[in-house]
Symmetry: C2
Subunit: 86 residues, 2 copies
Amino acid sequence: ADAEAGKAKAAVCAACHGQDGIATIPMYPNLAGQNAAYIISALTAYKNKTRTGGQAVVMHGQAAGLSEADMANLAAYYASLKPGGK
Amino acid sequence: ADAEAGKAKAAVCAACHGQDGIATIPMYPNLAGQNAAYIISALTAYKNKTRTGGQAVVMHGQAAGLSEADMANLAAYYASLKPGGK
């Protein structure tokens, strides 16, 4: 996976998940230092709409356009960020 | 919310999410320093089974027995753990 490509792709995610992977709103998860395999599993569930409820609908729109490569790159990028941010 | 009560309740969660909230298996999320409001939202989605797919079925069983107070206490506990663990 290519964390740099993931960083570019993550520009739109930063609005909710923060520039450093710390969510701007407590209702959303921090992603900094999260496990890449889990991020891929979550993004896949949002894309397949097997995750619904709560804010999931927001993520359906975000994940719909992601390819598996995009997901792997985004996951590698967020996993590389310092847990807790900064 | 009562993070101490959450710590006691989290004994069963540690098997997958780790003693310090860092998942024992990369497929599962780290919870240390995660946002409490997000944890409550996720646990609620697992309890209501609006989250399915992937490993969600494991969490259906875990969340089924949790009360709202349990969820708030667990969320407070994990949010209080140092991001990245230790």
